[in-house]
Symmetry: C2
Subunit: 641 residues, 2 copies
Amino acid sequence: MIGRIVIDDVRPRTPTRAYPAKAVVGETVTISADVFKDGHDILAARVLWRPTGKPQWNEAPLAVENAGLDRWAGTIVPTTLGRHELVVEAWTDRYATWRHKAEAKLGAGQDIATELEEGALLLEARAADDEQLAEVAKILRDDKLTPHERLAPALTPDVERLLQGAPADQGEIAASEAVPLWVDRERALFSAWYEFFPRSEGGLQGARNRLPAIADMGFDVVYFPPIHPIGRQYRKGPNNTLTATEDDPGSPWAIGGPEGGHTAIHPELGTFTDFEDLVLKANELGLEIALDYALQCSPDHPWVTEHPEWFHHRPDGTIAYAENPPKKYQDIYPVNFWPAGDADRKALWTACKDILDFWIAKGVRIFRVDNPHTKPMAFWEWIIPAVQATNPDVLFLAEAFTRPKVMAKLAEVGFTQSYTYFTWRTKRDEIVEYVEEVALGEKADYMRPNFWPNTPDILAGPLRNGPVSAFKLRAVLAATLAPSYGVYSGYELLENEPMSDTNEEYFHSEKYEVRRRNWDDPRSIAGCLTQLNAIRHRHPALQRLRNVRFHASTNDNVLAYSKVSDDGADVVLVIVNLDPWSAAESTLNLDLPALGLPWDAPFEAYDELSHQSFTWQGPEPYVRLDPHHDVAHVLHLRPLS
Amino acid sequence: MIGRIVIDDVRPRTPTRAYPAKAVVGETVTISADVFKDGHDILAARVLWRPTGKPQWNEAPLAVENAGLDRWAGTIVPTTLGRHELVVEAWTDRYATWRHKAEAKLGAGQDIATELEEGALLLEARAADDEQLAEVAKILRDDKLTPHERLAPALTPDVERLLQGAPADQGEIAASEAVPLWVDRERALFSAWYEFFPRSEGGLQGARNRLPAIADMGFDVVYFPPIHPIGRQYRKGPNNTLTATEDDPGSPWAIGGPEGGHTAIHPELGTFTDFEDLVLKANELGLEIALDYALQCSPDHPWVTEHPEWFHHRPDGTIAYAENPPKKYQDIYPVNFWPAGDADRKALWTACKDILDFWIAKGVRIFRVDNPHTKPMAFWEWIIPAVQATNPDVLFLAEAFTRPKVMAKLAEVGFTQSYTYFTWRTKRDEIVEYVEEVALGEKADYMRPNFWPNTPDILAGPLRNGPVSAFKLRAVLAATLAPSYGVYSGYELLENEPMSDTNEEYFHSEKYEVRRRNWDDPRSIAGCLTQLNAIRHRHPALQRLRNVRFHASTNDNVLAYSKVSDDGADVVLVIVNLDPWSAAESTLNLDLPALGLPWDAPFEAYDELSHQSFTWQGPEPYVRLDPHHDVAHVLHLRPLS
């Protein structure tokens, strides 16, 4: 049963409202709701919020954001990790309602005797709080004064503050249901990832030696494909062939061998001491190590013999390998997450959590989760909160390359971040539509996109046999459209050879082969990535998701978008030529007020990439981007004078 | 906690999911949901539904509607009034999953020994249901036959039916929460309303005499402004002036006088016997009488003296008239729906329900509710279900001319229908956008629009000083865009004089004056309304809301839209020239497949208004509408041959 005041659609929230929406510490989070009441009374509203279980509420005012749509909004800035709860409250602002009535009638020359007496009663009821109110009430009743003289002292900011500040004294307070909000650390929202295979650097020690260069490029997270022993049976050879020689290293995702499973390190990579040294070195450099959490087993995984009940069986009792008929994946035994017995399920799920706890104890706080959509949603719904209950700083990136509803549901039940379809969105309208969906729509309340131009599995769009400009422009897009992005190593070396015209894997994929690289290759665009990461760190505007805004351009190959920081002080405008082969000219149509810039005065546009400074005026600057020189402008906009 | 299969977003539903969505008896209602599971298993789903409290479930299958979006849909056709509940269930279709695997592997020339044995086990587990299954299982195991011969008998429709028909035998069944659905009688969705003031026809007897003409025009509902005694104090004179003479009848919405309040009949209109005769006559003619439910009182209403506690008081103890400062409405005392004491509130709300029960006992089943947005939402949330609990055939039309969120919330908490902004949507893009919002969006799950070109308060758009063509075209739009529409009498006589350039009331509004009309005026467009109502009754396509589809036209003044009946057999295409002054030519771009019409063969377009028949071929017919002859085509489309 609703009360007199209706409070609906409190946001942020997830679609089913059964799971928390998401924010990070230090983020300015907009809380909004529909708030209305019958009649003409003036309302007031606020949001109360606190870490769940704490006795003390914080509060922030809500104000009308869109009167026609009865939408109210305010902001909060969470300061602690973990689950929070929000309650929106609204009440009739008796003082404002009375004041509006009295002023409107006085202004129309009408008698306000009734309003003067009503005001006196209103103030007297609160006179215990402040002596001043009793005095003002007396003046309201003083019929030796003019109506205007009687009213004026009751309209001062002091009186307003005294009467509006205490909702508990305003009669009925309507309250929404408590809405849950999960607060992560900032890296859940703002992070630059770099993926590489330790074995291609000679193992964990070689990987450790590579860290300073990655830190110098300005990345925040270093993600490794699985570092566990690799199965021998049905091991894959180069280019995903079915026969491997003794020298072939196999896919790291075929996890498990005689040396152990998900809690072991491949002996060829090194030891636990090497791993600990690596983590220490990373932390020294301000980097975090993210591990792959890939819940599948090679036929040689210890679980296969220790826990055959955790796998699918054929009628003849043998364990079934992975199939999507007619495709066969003989090197992988998928785990049966829903074995017949509840006890078996509990034991399996606990063992899966033990893997996470094991690596958490080794200092890992970020997991990239392989193919989460092939495991039950109920499993993620259980395991992520179970881990975060004791370790609220642990983050999970979903490799949710699957159908959109499934991708969104994984985010809803708890994944911190998700890979997205960015990799395949290459034309202007596709990019605008997709970014508006994931950054500006309701999904942004709970799903955080992580934009990857490439992965070890995906060489797509203009990168396929693409020129250096393609690699630069896709990096600019990923790094500036989303606050989280990542690249798979080799990107800076412009590795661009696809498996075939129809297969979007890499030729000689590193998944099946060790790949030695010449990091000193003069063609390397490491400098470009370094620039982008530095710009991201320098500009708070680029550290948020929901603040992207697209601007019109006259050329379909020219994409223009801006971001403004929470406090409005930092304004970045990005202009990208989406055609890696040809120069593009365009006139833009900037929404200047949204950028805090004047219509009629010049402003500065400083290009953080080229270090050129332009003086622009008006909403329609002209740009020309020749990919042989510049693929993009990343402009810091500032009013002049 | 979710299970292995996810079922989300079951529709129809309301935004908060706390109230029932709406349907009518005999309506083909689409039930849809997101349904998915990890992995490659093939799913099956159904909806179970029943009147709430009944033991027996009905069921209907759901099928994949959009695989990429994991959206499933099916249809149900409710047959009884009242509250229903729906549950969507989904399960793994083991037979289909097995069959897909076996066929895919056989087709790729792979060994299917495992699948043959799995199939045999699957069939044997169900052999108790049917002997045939045991036989087929034996063949699956008969290694003297080829794999194809062994498999084939298990793939017959008979076996498929036996194995797919019983979800209870398929292991875990996932189920959504129960979703409520309120089922009204068909008039809640499909109705043509005609409003007139009985006093302008000489009272209830005169009104009764007018009914045959209204029935002849094909209307379904006759709605009267309040028929109760009218206050004397502060009675309004002609054109809303503040001084009335003895001869001025006053506004019927200033309810209550010495003769009684909301359960009395104005003596000048007639007696309860007259009212009973009127209802009888209406029923004879297939019409229903709708009364106005306007919860406000003139200063002379009996409640003012009997229940002063139900009104707002000034500090001096006097009752406050209605104000929206600086506007004053001295002839109206608004009811205070939230008096201080719970007992007073209960007594007041009960008295309000007593009014409805009183008129329901007199045979009234439809109420048009005046200004519902000025009464608490909680009041409607209580009173509508309270009435419908015992009288599920009672319908409420909300005069919710207010902000969109409030309009939608009134529908959500229980109103059967709502007035809309149609009256002010006159340009093509405005109409398309608005109709898509109310007919095709999520609102259509619970809010039923009733389109009125005019009301006694509103003379808008091209009707203001408008020509006959304006009246015809707005009637065509209202009658064919929405299954419920209405006109206020005088419309057929082209009454078009506004109060002023800025005031959208009528000059000499009938709200304050008796208006005698010459129904035999030769300019009357009663014939046009008669035609429209006959077409609506003849074409099931026009009796539904969610089936409207707009088609492109090359002329901004030409609006084209189609409706197709639930069974696909009835197809109506409406083409309207929105400019009442000038002829408009246009080429259309019809979505022929959506209309069940061929791309490459001629089809018939029969104009139900002009009785002309056209033979068209292809998606781009040319039309010309000269408002001096025809404002619109209402075309019945049929394939030829």
